[in-house]
Symmetry: C2
Subunit: 166 residues, 2 copies
DNA sequence: GCTGCACAGTTGAAGCATCAAGTGTAGGGT
DNA sequence: ACCCTACACTTGATGCTTCAACTGTGCAGC
C-alpha cells in the first residue's frame, strides 16, 4: 500500500479508511443503544418516512438507501416482524412489492431521529466545521460519481432538478 | 433525519452515508475477486508488512487497523489457517501475543497491493482530484479526532509528534 | 508471598451481509 | 396464442462481525 501512493495521498487514504471503519461503528453503537436499530435499518425507516404516503416500491427504496435488493429484502423482513413496515402488492403491477411504513414505524422514527441526528451533527457536521461542509459535500459527490456513475443518485437528489417524487 | 440538519448539512451527510455504504463494498469486491481477501484482512497483512521485522503485538496491530481485539483475533485465526500469519508468544511478556507475517504472507501482499492501490487511486484519490486531497485529509482528520480523541492515532502518525512506538 | 484488580488475548453464540439460486410477472417477437 | 428474455423480488446457505464470557498474566498493596 505504501509504494503506489505518494505520502500525502497515503496519509489521506489511511485517515479515510479509519473513518470508514470507525464512523459506522460509532453511529451503529448509538442507534443500537438507544433504539435497538442498525444504522441501515434506521435509514430504511427514515427514507420511507420522508416519502409521500410513506410507501415505496422495494427497488426504489433499495436505490435510495444504496443497497442491493437482497439486503433490503432481508432487512424489511425483520422490520416487518417488528411491526414497523408492511409489504403489500402493487395494484396494476404484479411484480412490484411496496414497502409501507406503519404507524408504529412512524412513531419509531420520530422517537429515534433526534438522537441520531444529534450524533451525526456531533461526529460529522460539527467536527468538520461549518466552513468545510461544502468541501465534504464536493468530495463525497466526486467519489460517488466514480462509485456509481449511472444511477442511484436518487440518494442525493439535489444539485440537479426537482425531486419529482416516485 | 430531515428536521435537525439544514439543507446543506443534510445533503452532505446523505452523500457521506452513501459513500460509507458503497466505497467499502467496492473495495471489498475488488480484493475478493482478485485475491480472495477482505479489505480488513488485507489491511492487517499490509500493516504487518510495513513493520520492522513484520511482527507486532496483537493489541498494537488492533489499534493500527482501528479494530477491536476480538475482531482481530478471529481474522488472524483465519489468516493463520491460510499460512499468511503466525502467532508466537512474546519473550519476556507472557500476556502478549505477537502476530508475524510469514514469507507466504509477504508474497501475498506483494501480489495484491498493486491492484488494490490502483483501485484506491481510481475511486478516491483521482476522484477527488489532486487539489482536494488536502481537503480530504483535513476533513477525515477532523472527524477522527471526534471519533477517537485519545488514542489510536497510530493509524495516522503524522501531523503531531514522534510515534514513540510501544 | 498472597490477594485483588487490570490488562492481553481467545472463544462461542448470535446477528447481519453477501452470494447464488429460485419464483413469478411483463412484455417483445413470431 | 406461445415462447423467451428480462425484471422484481425472495430465500437459504455461508462467512464475517459483534457481544459477552472466559483464561491466563502482570503488578500494586498489604
Amino acid at each position: 500500500m505504501a509504494e503506489w501512493l505518494n505520502a500525502e495521498e497515503q496519509h489521506a487514504w489511511r485517515r479515510t479508511a479509519a473513518v470508514m471503519t470507525l464512523l459506522p461503528a460509532a453511529l451503529d453503537a448509538q442507534l443500537q443503544r438507544d433504539a435497538g436499530l442498525t444504522q441501515f435499518s434506521y435509514l430504511v425507516l427514515a427514507m420511507l418516512s420522508e416519502t409521500e404516503g410513506r410507501v415505496m416500491p422495494m427497488s426504489e427504496l433499495a436505490s435510495t438507501v444504496s443497497s442491493s435488493l437482497s439486503r433490503l429484502s432481508h432487512v424489511v423482513s425483520r422490520l416487518e416482524q417488528q411491526g414497523w413496515v408492511s409489504r403489500e402488492p402493487c395494484a396494476g403491477n404484479g411484480r412490484v412489492t411496496m414497502a409501507r411504513l406503519t404507524d408504529a414505524g412512524w412513531e419509531k422514527v420520530v422517537a429515534t431521529a433526534p438522537g441520531h441526528a444529534a450524533e451525526v451533527r456531533r461526529l460529522v457536521i460539527d467536527a468538520v466545521g461549518p466552513c468545510r461542509v461544502a468541501d465534504l459535500d464536493a468530495i463525497t459527490g466526486a467519489i460517488l460519481r466514480r462509485l456509481d456513475p449511472a444511477a442511484r443518485m436518487r440518494a442525493n437528489p439535489m444539485a440537479s432538478e426537482g425531486a419529482s417524487g416516485s
